[in-house]
Symmetry: C2
Subunit: 286 residues, 2 copies
Amino acid sequence: MKIIRNPKQMTAWSKEQAVAGGTIGFVPTMGFFHEGHLALMRRAGELADQVVVSLFVNPTQFGPQEDLAAYPRDFDHDQELAVGVGVDVIFAPESEDMYPTGFNTTVTVGEELTDRLCGAVRPGHFAGVATVVSKLFNIVRPDLAVFGEKDFQQLAVIRRMTEDLNLGVEIIGHPIIREQDGLAMSSRNTYLQEAEREAALSLSRALAMARTMTADGERHVESLTAALQKFILSFAGTELDYISFVDQFTLQPVVEVNKDTVLALAVQINGRVRLIDNGFVAGDEK
Amino acid sequence: MKIIRNPKQMTAWSKEQAVAGGTIGFVPTMGFFHEGHLALMRRAGELADQVVVSLFVNPTQFGPQEDLAAYPRDFDHDQELAVGVGVDVIFAPESEDMYPTGFNTTVTVGEELTDRLCGAVRPGHFAGVATVVSKLFNIVRPDLAVFGEKDFQQLAVIRRMTEDLNLGVEIIGHPIIREQDGLAMSSRNTYLQEAEREAALSLSRALAMARTMTADGERHVESLTAALQKFILSFAGTELDYISFVDQFTLQPVVEVNKDTVLALAVQINGRVRLIDNGFVAGDEK
């Protein structure tokens, strides 16, 4: 496995693959790999000849009050895990090479997709994501890229941007990978203390509860939301960021649940750890 | 010469060139070619194996009160001229293929480069330019692109964006091409009536006057601006948009002229035709 730090070297490597006729599957990450990341890398390996994983904790997608400095990092262990799933290149640029002095360009996706859900409490977050992903796509020049459906709004924003800017990258969504107890895998789960684990399970259990209620005939978002709110707040230390029933493509809120409706949840645990989860509530499960 | 209308077909053609090892020189235009455009195409031909010219009157860079509908078009004549200078492909997409329903992404360059000069009177113009050029670069995938220095602020914005988004395209600026009487070539010159031609010459003559004054030792922007204003307004029907002495890279206004200072001018003729011109005022002439 190669480790490339310089963007121009990364592009040169990718151009060689293109000339040789090989396809590139790409997984952009912020590192601290867990089974969720590894599943994306395996999927990229099934779909393309070469797998490139970027490892970059992107400062522009963190707000001033957020956990940029504390975000967990373990490059040595990440390398071992990546080798284990057959990754060909880790692209791990320095921040100064991604955002040199004078950097002054932003890619934004319209507010219909970015000002709600996580965007409402994380202003500028999706501009940071769209800008860095467009940069990474231009540097790595992949044929396809695999993203986790856990960051469901991010996936919608990236699909929109990729199409709109003619980036020519096929975007693949990969289902959420969960712990045995149902908790959606996340690098931020390491922030959870033992006693907070139960509260963290409120998200996946609320999803299950919404599915049961829907299957039993309850389709009104207002009634579902009231029941879920009560349920989540019954766990000690939970605070709600949002409970949203939205269309999977437009992210617009819906009044009645249908097969394209995604329930998206964001919960703060003890005002310290922010967790998200999501899933379809009616029809085929995600 | 090939004419390609579909973005995906354009990209497929470009990928073939890349595999075959050929380089692509690109000239983005809004058509209605004059000697200025042809000079850019010839330059692209000197620098690359294949020349692609895009011809697209981009609606998103026109303001609601601007001349989108009236903008001059003559596709047949443009084709003949392009053949004459050895262009290999004209890429002429339809607006619906560039901005399909749901389109929702914008590329912006920071206001230090975009809120002054033409950006002050054309809000949103440079976001329109940056977005369409990034799209065109992603579709055409050129090795280099040639832009006229007449649109001097546009060139600075595109250089910034191309570097910031890692587009991997070498940006070449080409000196302004002028009519025999000094008028900078522009598709909008066709709007000028015979009697307005004299007023239009106020721009190039003001540039010459600034160079003479500077060579004679006047370096204070305030004094130079006062003299130029008086001079330009002495032509019948002229109204000033701006007279700006700025750094060629940062576009920041300067107080004293030096070798990196560009004088940028925008003048309205009879409130109907807006013309721009620019040039270095001290040191080597542009």
